[in-house]
Structures are given as structure tokens and as C-alpha cells.
Symmetry: C2
Subunit: 240 residues, 2 copies
Amino acid sequence: MSDTEPNHRRIDDFDVIAFDADDTLWKSEDHFQATEARFAELVDPYSPAGIDVLDALHAIERLDIASQGYGVKAFTISMVRAAIDMTDGAVPTEVIREIVELGAAMLVDPVHLLPHVPEVLDQVGRAKRIVLITKGDLVHQTRKVTTSGLEHHFSDIEIVLEKDPPIYAKLMERFGVVPERFCMVGNSVRSDVLPVLALGAHAVHIPYHLTWDLERVDDHDEDVVELASLAELPAWLGLS
Amino acid sequence: MSDTEPNHRRIDDFDVIAFDADDTLWKSEDHFQATEARFAELVDPYSPAGIDVLDALHAIERLDIASQGYGVKAFTISMVRAAIDMTDGAVPTEVIREIVELGAAMLVDPVHLLPHVPEVLDQVGRAKRIVLITKGDLVHQTRKVTTSGLEHHFSDIEIVLEKDPPIYAKLMERFGVVPERFCMVGNSVRSDVLPVLALGAHAVHIPYHLTWDLERVDDHDEDVVELASLAELPAWLGLS
């Protein structure tokens, strides 16, 4: 191990290792961005010149998120609203129909696992209790979990509204683990790392090549453990 | 107590009393039906003669529920799809916009508690651990719970995808209660009563004057305890 490797931990430092799901275990943002690209193709011809339709869509998503929450259904409703608003009603109903179908297709899209996921969960899960913590749409996340082939690895699967310190604190209490012995693994610094570190627990950041606009954090002072891929997690835990 | 009263239980027969939320603690179906009535007014002028727009909407809801799940966002998406499909695209985007707004308004509608709810929860909750079990949209149900003023009564608040025997069994395990000492209180025979009785647990049915089409059960063989209102629950439990 070189000096440049992140501070290693031993698996026995922890009682529970928690994993995020979207863009940590399986692809998610790819499909959102492909849908957005199609949305732009569909709506652009009816929009006033000079409007960036994706900027306008993101602005409406930001407005809607407080009441609609995260996930594909909220995204679908934001797309419909954005298409009508930014074209001042000029978008044809045929396009609205296709937008609704794009959202419906996302809900039933098969899960695309990221590389090494089953092996890593098997290896870590044999050594320690592992749980899954994801936010988003209850029906969609449940479908992905149950069709992923990964469900049996996890002692608990928690689908939460928001990943903030109060929710993580409640989950740790539910798992019966103190923060010092809890480690969260995920692709989002904003959702998987900072709120966990704020509680005195541990986190490992595994970046994904795409990050949703609303998950970006511009700046923070934390010294974050970062691994290039989930395949590096067992070694970080001293398992291989 | 007369012979015609339902078989009474004592509060000490139970370790956990669980409550449904929508149309048990607060109004829900009223707003859905009001929105449907407005949907019919909006879409009917563009529909072919002889189509019952609400029947058509319900048919699309039934189709969508497997992938979209329960709740206001799923309902909103079904309304948009139904409006376009049943008018063969003739519905104006202005109407689609209003349909989306109707759904958005439902998500932020203030909670309307049913009569006697705070007093009954206070009385039962002082005597025994009470929990809330509701299905539907994570963000919407969470908003209703946190704005209802009722949250502090419950040791646990569980928002689930479906109310079926496996989910109830998992929840009882989480609460650490055996079925014989668990009692569910709710307005839906299909969701709050039958799956609970199937596990050997107890249930109390408190009908609401409106029942969602998809919650109706035509026939069952169970002998169901039914109370006319939540106000009767403390007496049924021997608390007053």
C-alpha cells in the first residue's frame, strides 16, 4: 500500500456497512440524462428561440422537488409542466404523451448493475451485516431492489425521503449501531457522505461519471475517503 | 354493553396498536373524488360521445398501478395519460396544465383530520405503544404526517409500498410484536383488515363514507370487527 492510498479501515471497525443504490450499485443517471436528451429534441422545436430547454427543465425540477420529492414520477410531472410552460402551451399533446411514456419506460427499465457489484456485496456481506439505503420513489426503488438479484445480500432495505443527518440517525438507531461503527458507501458527496460524517460516522465516496445537477456540492471542508470503484472496497476494508 | 356490540378486547391484549392514516385519521378520498369530478368537467368536452371519462380514467389507473404505485403523483400521471388517450389527443395543453396543477395542489393540501382523532390517539397512546402504517407516496405521506400535528403520538411511522401479509409480517418483526398481540385499525377491509387477519393478528374496521374503487373487496369470509367511528375505539379497548 502506497502513501497515496486512502486511510484504510478494517472490516472489524464497523458493525454495519450501508450502500447507496442508484449509481453506486446500478446505473440510474444515464437513463435520466438520455430521457432529458430526448425531451430536449421533442420540446425544442416548440420553444422560443434562445431558451435552453434543459436549463428550463432543471429550474422547474428545482421548484417542484419540495412538494414532489425525488424520483421518476416527480421527474415525469416536471417534464410535462416544463414542456407546456416553456412553449406557452404550443407543444402538441402527442409530445406530452411521448414524455409520459418516457417516464413510464424508466419505471420498468431493467436494472443495469455496475461492474463488480455482486462479488463485492458477497464478499463484504459474508464478513459483516450490510444494508441498503436509497432515496426516491417507493415503487420504483422497490422494483429495482427486487429485480436486481441483490436483495438477499442485505439485512435491511430502507427507502427514505431524504438523506440528511436526522434520517441517518434514525436509521442507525433502527439498526442498533453507533455512528462510530457505521460506514456508508455511495456516489453522492451530498447525500451519502456529508450527512453521515456530520454524525461522526464513516463514509466512502465512489464517484460515478455522471452526477445529477441537484446532487452537486460546490464546496466542503471534509476530508473524504474516495475509491475509484466499488471493486476497491474489500481491499480498503482489509478483506483482500 | 349489549349483545349487538362487537367482541370487545382489553387494551392489555395487545402490545402494539397500529393505525392506518388516509380516511382513518384524516380525509383523503374526498380530495381524490373532487379532483376526479373536475377532471371529468375538463376532459368531457373533448371526449367522444358516450365515453364515461371517469370509467376510462379508472381503467388507466388500474393499468398504471403495477408500475406507478399508489398516491397522488401516480394519479396525476394517470390523469394526464387518460386525458390524452380518451380524447385521441384533442384535449388542449391548457387542460393538461390544469390537470397537473390539480395533482400538485393535492400534494400540498392541508391535512383535514377526522373527528375525535387527536383525543383518541392521546388516550390509546398513553395506554399502549401506537404506530402508523400507511401506503402511498413517500413525500406526500411524510408531509401529511409531519403537518398533521399527530406525529408525536407514534413510536414508528411506516410508509409502505403495499399492505399485504408479507409487509405486515416484516413490520411486526421490526416492532418486536407477535401477531396475536398486534391490532390494526383502519378504513380499508382490503388493506387494513384481511391481510392482518391472515397472519393471525387482530384488526378493527372503521368504514369511511367514501371508498376508492381499487380498495373495494366484493366478498370475504372473515368475521370483521367494525366500529362506527374512531371515537368508539377506546371503549372497545376497555379504556372508557
